[in-house]
Symmetry: C2
Amino acid sequence: MNLSNLFNPRSVAVIGASDDPRKISYSIFKNLLSYKTVYPVNPNHKEISGMKCYPTVESIRKKIDLGIIAVPSKVVPEIIKKGKNVRNWIIISAGFSEAGDKKLEEEILALAKKNKQRIIGPNCMGIQIPNIDLNATFMPRSLQKGNVAFISQSGGFCAAMLFQGEQENVGLSALVSVGNMIDVDIADMIEYFDKDKNTSAIAIYLEGLKDGRKFLDAAKNCKKPIVVLKIGKTEEGKKAAVTHTGSMAGSYEIYQGAFRQANIIEVKSTEELFDLIKAFTLIKNAKKEVIIITNGGGLGTAAADAVEENGLILKEITKEKSKELIKAIPFLGNSKNPIDLTGNATTSTYETVIDILGKENASFVIILIPTAVINPEKAAISTVDLSRKKPVVACWMSGEFTESSINLLRKSGVASFESPERAVRVLGKLA
Amino acid sequence: MNLSNLFNPRSVAVIGASDDPRKISYSIFKNLLSYKTVYPVNPNHKEISGMKCYPTVESIRKKIDLGIIAVPSKVVPEIIKKGKNVRNWIIISAGFSEAGDKKLEEEILALAKKNKQRIIGPNCMGIQIPNIDLNATFMPRSLQKGNVAFISQSGGFCAAMLFQGEQENVGLSALVSVGNMIDVDIADMIEYFDKDKNTSAIAIYLEGLKDGRKFLDAAKNCKKPIVVLKIGKTEEGKKAAVTHTGSMAGSYEIYQGAFRQANIIEVKSTEELFDLIKAFTLIKNAKKEVIIITNGGGLGTAAADAVEENGLILKEITKEKSKELIKAIPFLGNSKNPIDLTGNATTSTYETVIDILGKENASFVIILIPTAVINPEKAAISTVDLSRKKPVVACWMSGEFTESSINLLRKSGVASFESPERAVRVLGKLA
């Protein structure tokens, strides 16, 4: 099954296109205005944004790779039935099984099958494929380019992902809000993005699956790493999931078994899912051996704990390197790993130490606490340089004195985390 | 044993006071300039900052409640030996057991015992007691007032705490950097802060203890909640801790047993320690029953999972309240808990729903994802109002559109967290 004319469409029609800014169909159409070929469809308009508006999708009289439907749910069957010239649908409209109307959902699926059409949705936010400048969603802005494909059963988390991504300079290769998932499902997308040359990892926000076996097979066959956050794990969570997308969350134990079988990386919170997406985007070739460099011994100790707890190894520093380090490190520092530069460390201490160790075959955790003697922004520069050659996670303690340097790290593509434990946890999952 | 003239001194002397801004003794003296009674001591100066400088502490010829020593370690014994008019010492100077010189440490302890003096340190950053405007540290600024006493074996984490606290509007009733802890130890401080009227909880960053039994007894007798982050849990962490403060981290299992026996709340990361300090500062009377209000169903489901996982209960919404809610909530929302206002929720949806539920006997988790139809800043105002009457945690998804509203929440004293899981975890520990 080939989904390429769905995820890389030559032409797009927006059914229900509007020039009323209060409607989401306005946002969808506006987001698509600059795309290759786009047709507005709405029987109530002759023209939208200076373009000819078609009364129906069939009246375009051309093959359309992707039809995006944003009209009231009751009207959807008629559109699909008649729109035989459309290859794939994204149905944004809500009001199907999640609202108790399972029949309407079955009806549109049957009609689309008859027309040999594939469907994403209904009840979804659409898709974004930044590499081809496709924003087929009603989100206020387009994502940056990245290399992780994110598939989400929560539209809200898609929005959260966009905004946090902007703030931290993290993009995606694809964002897919799957909604009720009546046809194209997560397994299909795993298969598609496994072959997508712009995607190097797949992240999934998962509530529940209809076909567990299909998912398991797709995940097992996938050559790229898959990260999953499963929600609806508890009884209360399951009840909430049913109301949310109509999905049966199922037994968490069974999911966990499947994740293990398919070598899926399971994360435990929305925060950790974002951390991993960030890590897959910014860190290449993470190593199991880790070097910790810090100007706070306590945080270095906390990081050393996290190294062991996450199945990583503190790299042994050779005697020769240790001798070099001792010359560079202030009194009472530690030239053994975790390397403690002490609160007396200056920017040049960081520079020298990074220079001495920069060729080691290891992942680096660089921790910095603001002090009176250090310039966090200058210290960030040597960390940025190191990150061009080596897998690096940075942990600059937050606050007024580090704000600009944390922004510098983010803008320069360094994976930056709030605490040493979070930084190390990410390395543990990658390595 | 009464430590009140140590933590609430009538007079302070800074031994090694300096007017050279490159020295930490400069910062210490500067921070104390506005304190009740302060004496600079330094044989090399006649005057510092326009004040008479004494050659020795004994030449002040008055009883001094607190002498702060910031001179090279070799000189410390002589100062203690002669400074018989001092009641307590804080020894900032490093270069004792953490640098391998156990003998020097024993020497100063013996001298102080002879003089009936108590010691905090050596190798520490000092103490801050915001309620009496005492900043006896070399930190660049003074903490805000709060109600949690923070005792730390890591000086670096004290600094991190200060800066993050400033950013998030969280203060402390006391900050104590304990250093090598040769005399006054954590047990003594638990006992002291248990009786301190400005303190309602005690937080501890713990590497290792010399007297476990004393700690356990003090913690068991303490009537206020105690939160501990234990570091040096793993083999690697233990090795790092020895170099850091010379402390033997000991068996983590034994510590965990002690924490359980004494009803201590154990947290697992620096981040969670800060979250709990924030929670104890900002949230009063957390309830076990929780109401979740969200405009994203997925995040609501994740929060519902977290409620169950953290031993909390989703409060049942009565039929009457549910009927009221249905009128206020957009199509396809959920009037059962977690209450899903959907992506179509406006500021007034939040206001109305908070108004309907605001008298319920529960903790509240308010989640907000920025959308085109909501004003996050206005929505923050109803959350701030609710937090004046009820225990509230807020989780505004980060990004450009929510930055100012998150700042508003922080400035207004609402406990604000990055993810629903973190927000709920905190409630679980409090309740």
